[in-house]
Each structure stands twice: as C-alpha cells, then as structure tokens.
C-alpha cells in the first residue's frame, strides 16, 4: 500500500483491477488505455487488448499516443483490417469489455463525445463517436472511466453519442440489445455501479480520503450512494510503480524533440 498517489493514479489503478486475465477488452485511448495496460502488467498478464486500429492481443511497452501506433501492431498476435475488426470482433460478440472515456456522461451511463451545445450550431465541436456507439452496444459490458467535473458529469448530456442505459430500467432490452451496457464507472474519486433495477450509477466505493461531499461537489446530478460505501483499497506499491514506469516510458517515447523542420 502507498499513501503517496494522485487521484488520477487511483482512478487508473482502480479501473485496472476490474479487468480479468481472460477478458477481451476493446480499449479506448487515454485513461482506459492506461488502466488496461496496468492490468496487463500486473494481475492480468494474459488479457487480450484490442484497439480499433485492428490490433488484437497487443502488448505495448509504452502507452500509444493514438489507437494506431506502430508498437500496437508490432506486439499484437494479429492485426486485421478495420472492417473486419468491427464486423468479426466487435459485432461478432468477441469483446467482453468495452472500455470508454467520455466528454459528458449522465447518471445512466449515456455518453456524449459529439458536441457541446446544439448539434447543428455547436458551442464546441468534439471529435465524434468513432467506434464508441457500437462498442457501447456490442461489447459484453462497458466500463467507463473519467475525471469528475460538473461540466463532464451532467444531468442531461447534449447528445447521446453512445447509449448506456437510456432513461434506466430495461431501456436497453427495449432496443433489442442483449449486452449488459455500463456496469462500472471509475472516476478519480469513486467506484460506481448501476442500481440493479433503475440502472442509475451508485457510488459503491470512495477512494481513500474522499468524502461524499467531494463526490457530490464534482457531479452534476444528485448522487446516490450505496448503503455501505466501501473505501477503495489504495494502490499497492507494485500497482503504483507499474503505472508510473509506464507513464515515464511513454513520456520519454512521445516527447523526443522533432527535428523535421516542418513545424519550425
């Protein structure tokens, strides 16, 4: 155990713990990628990590800057074309966990990465859904990880890029989905799981030192807490060292100065 860690590190490590050795995980870039690789480098060495660039069973030594970095391919069991990735591997039901981030999230796990504001006259045009709409519907279950902010965790998202539990209850089944949808949310403050009936995200565990007020202050909806909110175990020395080594290797690899002159 270590007491010297950031909320970000706690978030990534808590997320990594949710992954199992036999999971097949479709990995989003950013926090999901770090969590998945920490899992692979600690308790889940055999986990299969898939990036939407077509790399299956990849084991990068540094975190990729993009979903198509060369090392993902070089270390993969196989690299397939993108149409095959979406048809045979995602739509084919081979992915057990889809791991997503979000720009905006609501309490039912619906995600917006499309626009802030109106779709036709957006205040901020975000990158868009990419693979997420079908990751959200075709993966066995969905884990979401994001830092808590009032702008990010909102009562009503501006656009439903990826469907979570809709308005809760059996909304997924009504749309014909047979997958579980969001079953886990890991923020920098807490671990959340959907209520079995309403599907509203409920805090089941808070990270060491975090209070209910902290969680509510950075969340745009009225937070539900479980009857017995646990304390998330602090990162172990191994988890923390693994994550920090990974980040250090990544920083060194990505920030080598450019000498190309094109941007001079």
């Amino acid at each position: 155990m270590s007491n010297d860690f950031t909320p970000d590190e706690m978030m990534t490590i808590a997320a990594s713990r949710a992954l199992k050795n036999d999971d097949v995980c479709f990995v989003g870039i950013g926090a999901p990628s770090a969590a998945c690789n920490v899992a692979r480098l600690t308790h889940a060495p055999e986990i299969t990590l898939i990036y939407e660039s077509g790399t299956i069973g990849t084991a990068p030594s540094v975190l990729p800057l993009s979903i198509g970095d060369g090392e993902l391919c070089e270390t993969a069991v196989s690299t397939v074309a993108v149409p095959e990735m979406f048809r045979y591997w995602l739509q084919g039901g081979r992915v057990t966990i889809g791991f997503l981030g979000a720009a905006q999230l609501d309490k039912f796990g619906n995600i917006n990465t499309t626009v802030i504001g109106d779709y036709d006259r957006p205040k901020i045009r975000l990158p868009g859904g990419g693979g997420a709409p079908e990751i959200a519907s075709s993966s066995g279950e969905i884990y979401i990880t994001m830092k808590q902010t009032l702008r990010g965790m909102v009562d009503k998202i501006d656009f439903v890029t990826s469907f979570g539990h809709g308005t809760g209850g059996d909304d997924r089944q009504k749309l014909g989905m047979t997958t579980l949808g969001p079953t886990l949310l890991i923020t920098d403050l807490a671990v959340w799981r959907p209520d079995p009936v309403t599907k509203e995200f409920t805090v089941v565990s808070m990270h060491p030192g975090v209070t209910k007020d902290n969680v509510q202050a950075t969340c745009g909806w009225t937070v539900k807490f479980a009857d017995n909110v646990e304390v998330t175990p602090a990162p172990s020395v191994l988890e923390l060292k693994t994550l920090r080594d990974l980040k250090a290797r990544t920083k060194a690899a990505h920030e080598a100065p450019s000498a190309s002159g094109a941007n001079a």
Partner: protein, 284 residues
C-alpha cells in the same frame, strides 16, 4: 492500369473540382504528401471522407477547399481537437462546412460495401445513438428471417481515393503491411485510386496472403519517400509525435495557420517529405 507518375501529374490527371475524395489511413500511412499536392493545385468544392480525418483534413478545410466532410472521428490523434475543423463548423470560417457524421462501424462497413459493389452496407449499429436522428443517411432494414432491425448506410464510392503504401513492384502491384485500416476497401470502392509509395522494388518480397492491390486496380502510383510524414510507414520511419503536438498550436490561430500553410505546403515541393523523415528512419 497503374501508371507511374509524379504526384503533380497524378493529382492533376485524376482529381477535379467538386469530386468526392478519400485520403484514407488509420494513424499509420496517412497520405500527407498527396493531400499537400491537392492543396497546392487549389481544388474547390470537394466532398472529403475519412473515418479519422486528422491534420490533412484540418488543412484542406482551413484552406477553404471542402464543401462537405463525411467522417466518424475528427481529432488530432493523441492530442485533441482539430482547430480548423472546429472553426469551420462553429464559426463557418473560411466558409460553412456540411458534415455527414457516422460511427466507425458504419464508415468501415460503407467502404466495404463500396468495394463490394453494393448500394448499401448492413450491420448492427446505432442502437440508441442520436446520430441516427441527425443524419438522414442512417436508415434501417429488417432481417427477413428474424425480424431484427439492422442499420443501413449508403456505400461510400469516392471519385478518387488517395493512400500511401510501403512499396510497389515494377508492374505496379502495391503492398500494404502493418495497421491496414480501411485502405484496401477505400481503393477498391473508388472510381480512381492514386497511391504514393516509399519505393519501387523488383519483388515485393512478401507472403502469400499479404494485403496487395493488383496494378489493374490503381490509376496512378507516385514514388514519394516520406510521403506519410508526420504519420509513419511501418518498416520505413516512425511517427513524428511532436509534430502532431505542435500542430495544435499552429492550427489554433488563423493567421499562424495560413503562414504555416504558405511556407510548408504552398511553397514546398513534394520532394521535401524525404527530408522530413530522415531523422525518423534510424529507429524505425
């Protein structure tokens, strides 16, 4: 039948104002040199498509060449948003940009359908997703055996597809290795395909089931070493990550962007790409 041409001639012979164009690549093998030549030749009213429009789409759009963009994820990969795309969508600068937005699954299936000569792609998608409400090209069909409602989108059939590949043999057969993206489909879906390559070799020296585009599927092949910079070409040079990070600041400001484009694109010859990747070759 593939002709070996300079990138100048290949662009001039195959693209015209108002065409629909794909510059495909999935982080790997982005056809930067081809896009810069298109920008230099000053085409107008293009409909551009790509699953992952990135810097070159920021450049094409910022230079006012694009009427419409069909896409599924518009970002500076690993860095953030595309500033010129945002400026066009949010502020109509330099003019309004029509967007047709899809998911990756839809775009990948739509190129596949284009390559397969079908009018539409059918897949399980857009369940509960709001894009289906803002994009009239997202429809559905009913499976005649199970009654399941499946998503349907029109096939993508660009007038011209540009890609960058590792190498061609002397007959014009082209090899792609590593992260393949949707390039094979984008080439086979297109009316005309223009491919820049790192080199031409006597023998592709590859395996039986490699991703090869036969010469008779290609309109023109252009030898442009470094033509994917700042993206990478597996086996040739690494990704120039810093360049992507620096782009964010360049693209954030209209004047800075225009000055950069003038110096590094409008006044630069295609041969400059070989120079840009020189320092990235050692480690590749």
């Amino acid at each position: 039948m593939a002709k070996f041409l300079s990138i100048r001639d290949a662009v001039a012979n195959n693209l015209k104002h108002g065409d629909s164009v794909a510059f495909e690549g999935f982080t790997h093998l982005i056809p930067h040199a081809a896009a810069h030549e298109v920008i230099r030749q000053g085409f107008k009213d293009l409909t551009v498509m790509r699953m992952t429009p990135d810097i070159i789409y920021d450049q094409l759009i910022g230079m006012g060449m694009v009427k419409k963009m069909i896409f599924s994820f518009a970002g500076n990969p690993g860095v953030g948003l595309l500033r010129r795309v945002r400026d066009a969508v949010e502020n109509q600068w330099p003019h309004a940009l029509e967007v047709e937005e899809h998911s990756h699954a839809a775009m990948a299936n739509a190129y596949e359908a284009g390559a397969a000569g079908l009018p539409c792609a059918v897949f399980r998608g857009y369940l509960g997703a709001e894009l289906a409400k803002v994009n009239a090209n997202i429809k559905s069909i009913i499976c005649p055996f199970t009654g399941e409602k499946l998503a349907a989108v029109p096939a993508l059939r660009p007038d011209v597809t540009f890609i960058h590949a590792q190498k061609a043999d002397r007959k014009g057969n082209v090899l792609i290795e590593g992260i393949l993206g949707v390039q094979k489909e984008a080439v086979l879906a297109a009316k005309r395909a223009v491919i820049t390559v790192e080199e031409v070799v006597d023998d592709l020296d590859t395996h039986t089931n490699a991703c090869i585009l036969p010469h008779w599927t290609i309109a023109a092949i252009c030898v442009v070493p470094g033509g994917a910079h700042p993206s990478y070409a597996s086996g040739y040079y690494d990704r120039d990550n810093v360049n992507y990070i620096e782009w964010d600041a360049i693209a954030a400001d209209r004047e800075k962007f225009l000055a950069w484009m003038d110096k590094h694109v409008l006044k630069a010859p295609p041969e400059i790409f070989a120079e840009r990747v020189r320092h990235l070759r050692a480690s590749a």
